[in-house]
Symmetry: C2
Subunit: 233 residues, 2 copies
DNA sequence: CAAATAGTGTCTGTAAGACACTATCCC
DNA sequence: GGGATAGTGTCTTACAGACACTATTTG
């Protein structure tokens, strides 16, 4: 501890003199919803039902969030909020930006640090029965409170950047997959169709081929790939 | 105000129940120091002298920063700290990230939101006489407190990204300049030499040529350019 | 003239995009 | 064989990087 600077800031005022804001975290937990009948794979976002006492004029769904506790890092607060509110274990929450409009929350002075986290759809399957969570397809027409729509936009943009140059940096696929599987994920993230030949040549160097082919599908069986070490870069 | 949710969070606890962190801003105000005798143009960072009561084991220089005041946005706090600590008017503070290690500041629980801002060297000239500020060349061997070295690295990286694809997004040059001037700035930001022919062809489409040539220099006079509208993109 | 800097012509290698073809499975 | 999907050959275009040349000034 610094003996000279007993809780004083650079301006010489004691820290306790300043009013302090509440600091919250809000998380866009994104996933790729697999293709169903008539729909191709698409982005999804985890929403949680807001408890009755905090429901205002807006709809009852929101991004999971919580207030930062003392002695806790932001990432820890994000993981805690995902666990408590949705029973989901997050992975690598990544900061997007701080929302700092002093009037953004009518409950008081609340800063919110927006985060992005990503989980494979399988890991979210268990939420299917819970009435307090949902996975909404994007773009969503739901009305969300605070800056949550802006957070989702930022998160989508960040995710697109990450997937633009790497096969599966966030682990949306599991141990083995075909290049078609991977392309479906990329098309969902990018929000547009990708050419199969160009895509293959772009990704093939960063994948590790497995000694097996996909089974039980139509057409010529495809080579299976795994995540190579290079993906971490 | 929301009548139903009288200062309660989503978990039903009153906001006042939670201890709140102090929130600070720290700013990497960067510039490009023009070429002198024997040295080419290079990046510089504004440092301010820390007042005696806050000086700990580390050296007496730090990035300018302050605590966030009530009712203030982060950008406003950044501008205020630049004005108060260095007499400088900042431009467009941009968030880099939140430093959130609970133990990062031994004065207490302090989150710091790191920012990047940029000023042309001319606008910093007036600081020359002040003993409480300095513009340090980068990379600096100074020992700085807290996470300030990490902030500078982040800021440098961000600046490189911005200048990689645009002529002068942050206004490091004034109304008119030659492509050589512009290249000197880019070499300072990138930290390496750039080829003059490739650089010219990369930038020329985003510049607006002025009906004049540079005077008072050696060699063939160069065309002058201004910032075109496209630079805002 | 020489020195110095501005600006251009042009070749090379790489890579994305696009089209068309071949390959191999299931029914 | 027909349908479906996997995978490749190859052409075009674009563009960064590099080298060498020409252009225009000052001293």
């Amino acid at each position: 501890m610094n003996e000279n600077a007993v809780f004083r800031d650079d301006d010489g005022r004691a820290l306790a003199d300043y009013p302090r804001p509440s600091v919250a975290v809000d998380t866009a937990l994104m996933t790729v919803i697999p293709a169903g009948e008539g729909s191709s794979a698409h982005l999804g976002i985890l929403l949680v039902r807001r408890p009755p006492q905090s429901v205002g004029a807006l709809a009852g769904w929101a991004l999971p969030g919580t207030f930062l506790h003392e002695g806790e890092t932001l990432a820890e607060a994000v993981r805690r909020s995902l666990e408590v509110k949705a029973g989901v274990t997050g992975r690598e929450p990544q900061q997007l930006r701080v929302f700092d409009d002093p009037a953004r929350d009518d409950r008081g002075w609340v800063l919110s640090v927006a985060h992005l986290d990503v989980l494979a759809f399988d890991d979210l399957e268990r939420l299917r029965e819970s009435p307090n969570t949902r996975i909404a397809a994007l773009p969503s027409r739901l009305r969300l409170p605070y800056d949550h729509l802006a957070i989702i936009d930022l998160a989508t943009e960040r995710l697109r950047l990450e997937y633009r140059t790497h096969p599966d940096p966030r682990g949306l696929l599991h141990e083995s997959f075909t290049i078609s599987d991977l392309r479906a994920v990329h098309e969902a993230v990018a929000g547009r169709e990708l050419q199969k030949d160009t895509f293959r040549r772009l990704m093939i160097d960063e994948l590790e081929s497995l000694p097996a082919a996909a089974e039980g599908r139509r057409g010529r069986p495809a080579q299976l790939f795994g995540r190579s070490e290079r993906q971490a870069e």
